[in-house]
């Protein structure tokens, strides 16, 4: 029997996705195609930064302060070694942007993963079990939402910076950032998941699972969760973009990544001092990369929302 049924699987998983409704709509939507292409290029550059970048911006041995503030090569007075010029410390801007994008993306993705784990578990519990637990968890979410993410992050990061001292803080900055962005935004997930769970819970397949005697954990994870994935996908893209912006803002304010390991935000911030002294590129180029990155993620999210058309419950 098994051999018969394995033969039944039509074509590969990839061709199934390619021919699915999503695949069709993707191919018919040039904005989505271009966005995905740009995103993949940026992600590729970020992932393989150590292989692509001509310099290692973290290695003080490769930095020469004498090289500082070279303009990009298309401007007069440039050093052909440095494609996008150099920053105030003499680091190659191209390499630094690659490494910075890598950091920004990593912080964004990890923070969203943390949000998702927290938010999905809380949303599932609140939606499925309901009653007092639901009220309690949702009031917590309301309280969390009534603080602005940035405000919470600034307070938290400023306090930790003061407590541990700059040195230790800089060493663990990436973890602090992930934690604070992750914790601050879980209610977005929790609310969306709870809303879909409430809708799914009424469907007969959940009753059928209960009549079969399955436990609540199994029903939540194996039955309801897979059917709540579409809205989770959609908010995930938006949340990744938001997390990258939050990280950049915090770094810009000096509460994020230290100048020795610059993310896109800290690069923009460090170049900001020189923007009026003529070295605009230190701020402008990472700024463009940040805007493009966030924009394509948001465009992909828009497209996905149109295709999956889940009921998004916001606010």
């Amino acid at each position: 029997m098994s051999s018969l049924s394995t033969n039944e699987i039509p074509a590969s998983r990839w061709s199934r996705i390619w021919n699915s409704k999503m695949g069709h709509s993707f191919r018919g939507n040039p904005v989505a195609v271009v966005s995905l292409a740009i995103f993949l290029v940026i992600a590729f550059g970020a992932i393989f930064a150590p292989l692509i970048a001509p310099f290692d911006p973290y290695d003080p041995g490769q930095i020469d302060i004498m090289n500082s503030e070279y303009p990009p090569i298309w401007i007069e007075g440039a050093d052909p070694q440095f494609l996008f010029g150099t920053d105030d410390q003499g680091r190659d801007l191209w390499s630094t942007i690659l490494y910075g994008t890598r950091l920004s993306l990593m912080i964004g993705l990890c923070a969203v993963a943390l949000q998702a784990v927290l938010g999905i578990s809380i949303g599932l519990l609140a939606g499925y079990i309901g009653g007092r637990l639901d009220s309690l968890l949702m009031r917590l979410a309301d309280i969390q939402l009534s603080f602005s993410t940035l405000m919470v992050a600034i307070i938290f990061l400023a306090v930790t910076q003061a407590m541990f001292g700059s040195e230790t803080f800089n060493q663990y900055a990436i973890y602090f950032l992930i934690a604070v962005i992750g914790v601050a935004e879980w209610p977005q997930y929790a609310r969306t998941v709870r809303a879909t769970v409430l809708a799914e819970k009424k469907k007969e397949y959940v009753d059928s699972a209960r009549v079969l005697g399955f436990g609540p954990m199994r029903i939540m994870v194996r039955h309801i969760l897979p059917n709540s994935l579409s809205p989770i996908f959609v908010i995930s893209t938006v949340q990744v973009a938001n997390a990258i912006i939050s990280e950049a803002s915090l770094s810009f304010l000096g509460l994020g990544m230290p100048p020795s390991q610059p993310s896109l935000g800290s690069l923009i911030s460090s170049g900001f001092d020189y923007i009026f002294s003529g070295s605009w590129w230190i701020t402008a180029i990472p700024g463009v990369v940040l805007v493009v990155l966030v924009l394509v993620i948001n465009l992909l999210g828009d497209w996905m929302r149109d295709v999956l058309n889940p009921k998004l419950y916001k606010g």
Binding site: M1, S2, S5, E8, D207, S208, L212, G213, P226, N227
Partner: protein, 345 residues
């Protein structure tokens, strides 16, 4: 209500004065209402099932019929343990089931299964047919090997007429009739003895209804199943049921053998219901016209629930709720007019 005697001495399922209310005003503030300029505390509730007592004997198919809002689906869900009753008792094989925990219900889950109305919603859309069928078997028989489970699933699929080689497909790739077959197969994987079927064919086309009904009859004969069959379709009842319970506004009107009920309906509501079914025959019999429409089951009147629409109603019906009374032909009827012999014919 012990006078409603099932053919078998010990019924498989027994409902004793079963009641279910759904409270509408949950929070404290919702219970406050303005009545004639004064604030009163009032808690509205939907009386979905009121004082229903009946029993199902081993091997029979008890049909519960009624119109929308009569509480027939609520009865099914109460029996299946999906809802907890507000009052009364449910006994399965002589033991109470309504007050058990989930763990306490576990042994029953293998004996009692449910088939739902909408085959488009009762299968998890993200699970292949094989996953859907193997899951309950793994869960209830952890000792079974993968190969055994697979063979058993293939066997069950064949008995319901679904090609086992389709088991890697997802529910959306099947038609409504095939999905309902798969849903039946899923219920049969745990080898139940009792099946609650909540409108299992009303979402299907005529020619497919016959297929699914035949399948359920076959399963009954081969496995000795007992059914609690919920439906609004009286022609299906006549064909499938051994006994029939007619519900109106959550209250039992008439309980009788199928033959007796169709040949000699007694309760005025049963008569109206039977006369309203469109027939294929040439003559155009006038159906019994009922006054008005079904009232809402919120805050029921104290008298007979059918009072507002009944042509035989009198003052006694308005104030006193009739109780089911045993008739010589074995049926039980809850109607003052029948009791007093006020009905003609």
């Amino acid at each position: 209500m012990t006078d409603i005697i099932a053919p078998d001495s010990r019924p498989l399922l027994e409902l004793k004065q079963l009641e279910k209310r759904f409270v509408l005003d949950k929070g404290f503030l919702e219970t406050l209402k303005l009545r004639r300029g004064r604030i009163v505390r009032e808690r509205r509730a939907v009386h979905a099932v009121n004082d229903v007592s009946l029993s199902v004997a081993r091997g029979e198919a008890l049909c519960v019929v009624g119109e929308s809002g009569c509480g027939k689906s609520t009865v099914a869900r109460l029996v299946a343990g999906l809802l907890t009753p507000s009052g009364g008792e449910i006994l399965y094989d002589g033991a109470r089931t309504d007050n058990r925990s989930r763990a306490g219900m576990m042994p029953l889950r293998k004996k009692m299964q449910m088939i739902f109305q909408n085959p488009y919603a009762s299968l998890n859309p993200r699970m292949t047919i094989r996953q859907a069928l193997e899951e309950p078997m793994h869960y209830h028989n952890p000792a079974m090997s993968r190969a055994e489970v697979r063979d058993k699933v293939a066997e069950v699929m064949r008995t319901v007429g679904v090609d086992p080689s389709w088991s890697m497909r997802y529910p959306h790739e099947f038609s409504g009739g095939q999905r309902q077959r798969i849903a039946i197969a899923r219920a049969l994987t745990v080898d139940p003895e009792f099946i609650i079927a909540d409108e299992p064919i009303s979402a299907l086309d005529v020619s497919i209804q016959a297929q699914v009904l035949n399948l359920m009859l076959e399963a009954k004969e081969q496995r000795g199943l007992t059914y609690l069959f919920i439906t609004h379709d009286l022609s299906v009842v006549e064909h499938f049921g051994t006994r029939v319970a007619v519900l109106y506004l959550g209250t039992l009107c008439e309980l009788a053998d199928t033959r007796t009920l169709f040949e000699n309906p007694k309760h005025p509501y049963t008569r109206a219901l039977l006369s309203a079914v469109p027939q294929l025959s040439d003559d155009h019999p006038k159906h019994i016209r009922l006054k008005g429409e079904i009232p809402t089951p919120i805050n029921l009147p104290q008298g007979c629930p059918f009072y507002s629409r009944c042509t035989y109603a009198n003052d006694r019906c308005r104030v006193e709720r009739p109780l089911p009374v045993q008739k010589p032909d074995g049926s039980a009827v809850a109607c003052h007019a029948v009791e007093e012999d006020r009905l003609d014919g």
